[in-house]
């Protein structure tokens, strides 16, 4: 394909405008060699629709603020290439599922952030500033279990992917429970039992059906489904010993 041809190819982009009662509006943008979904949205906002609302910050997959529903699936838009997801040149971009909509592609993340507290955060230390820092063996089983879930960027992709959240808004959901799992395995955390009790309380991990849609969509390949399975096992085996 020569350069001229490539430049003249167009993408049909349907974007959600408005709040809950909005509609999809179609824009035509140039198809280019290396484009992310976020690039497309930025182009539309700059050149076609200055009032289009959307969120992003880092553009490199660190901050977790750019998640949206792209062709039906929740994704981090700054690291999703158009080539990978476009359906014969058509893109449908909507806000994340399972969260109240504010405007266009922006949702209210408050209910999602709340789930972290409901799942038994925050961390509370066992030492004071006068003590020496805790020594945590990086090879201990608890540390390795915590490590596996630690890098979460709070993008809410898993929360949006989870059908149980969709059916039952009381359900804490994958990200909060994944966080609880890291805390329960943190030997420096003084309230491990309380965190576990809360993660297994009302709307807790007993509601998860382990179908793994959270894990399938997590952009940084964490495994919230496995973390929740770990919490469920604690109900049988008791809190993890540090070995």
């Amino acid at each position: 394909m020569n350069k001229i041809q490539r430049e003249t190819q167009e993408l049909t982009v349907r974007i959600w405008r408005g709040k809950e009662d909005g509609k999809l509006v179609t824009y035509q943008v140039m198809s280019r060699e290396n484009q992310t979904i976020l690039d497309i949205i930025t182009e539309i906002q700059r050149f076609h629709e200055p009032s289009l609302a959307y969120r992003f910050s880092c553009r490199v997959g660190v901050c977790g603020s750019c998640a949206m529903t792209v062709n039906g699936r929740p994704r981090w838009t700054c690291r999703t290439h158009v080539k990978k997801v476009s359906d014969e040149g058509i893109l449908t971009i909507e806000p994340l599922r399972n969260l109240p909509r504010i405007k266009d592609l922006v949702c209210d993340l408050a209910p999602f952030i709340d789930t972290w507290q409901r799942a038994g955060a925050p961390f509370s230390g066992t030492k004071t500033r006068k003590d020496a820092p805790a020594l945590v063996d990086p090879n201990s089983s608890t540390r390795r279990a915590a490590e596996a879930g630690l890098q979460c960027i709070n993008c809410a992709v898993c929360y949006s992917a989870c059908d149980v959240v969709n059916w039952n808004r009381n359900y804490i959901g994958p990200a909060g429970l994944n966080r609880a799992w890291t805390l329960v395995n943190d030997v420096r955390h003084s309230n491990r039992k309380q965190t576990f009790d809360q993660a297994f309380g009302k709307g807790g991990c007993g509601s998860c059906h382990s179908h793994g849609n959270c894990t399938r969509h997590c952009p940084i390949e964490l495994n919230p489904s496995e973390s929740i399975a770990g919490l469920k096992q604690i109900a049988f085996k008791g809190l993890p010993k540090d070995v």
């Binding site: 009381n170 007993g206 509601s207 049988f236």
Partner: protein, 107 residues
């Protein structure tokens, strides 16, 4: 509460696993000459081991199925938690009554 129900459902599922297999095997065996009430009773009536077997079966279902039903109602309906709990409890009583009635008939 949620944790107790979760454990109860999983433990009853563990018990149900082998019971269901034996039950299915028994059905295959029992229907080889067609099925009649008299034939079933001739085999099971007065048998302590079959009463214990099916007694345990009924108890496990009484625990297992209503907890599952409660989960489904929480996900699929807007009914209040209190009402859901009552419905689940009613189902438990129905399973228990129907099941025990059949078990008592063979002892």
């Amino acid at each position: 509460m949620e944790r107790t129900l979760f454990l109860a459902q999983r433990i009853s599922a563990i018990i149900l696993g082998p019971l269901v297999l034996v039950h299915l095997g028994l059905i295959l065996f029992a229907v080889r000459n067609g099925l009649s009430g008299a034939e079933i009773l001739s085999r099971t009536q007065g048998s302590i081991s079959w009463s214990v077997f099916y007694g345990l079966f009924v108890l496990s279902i009484t625990v297992h199925a209503p907890i599952g039903l409660r989960n489904i109602l929480q996900e699929w309906t807007r009914v209040s938690q209190r009402t859901i709990n009552i419905i689940a409890l009613l189902f438990a009583l129905i399973f228990l009554a129907l099941g025990l009635r059949a078990v008592v008939a063979i002892v």
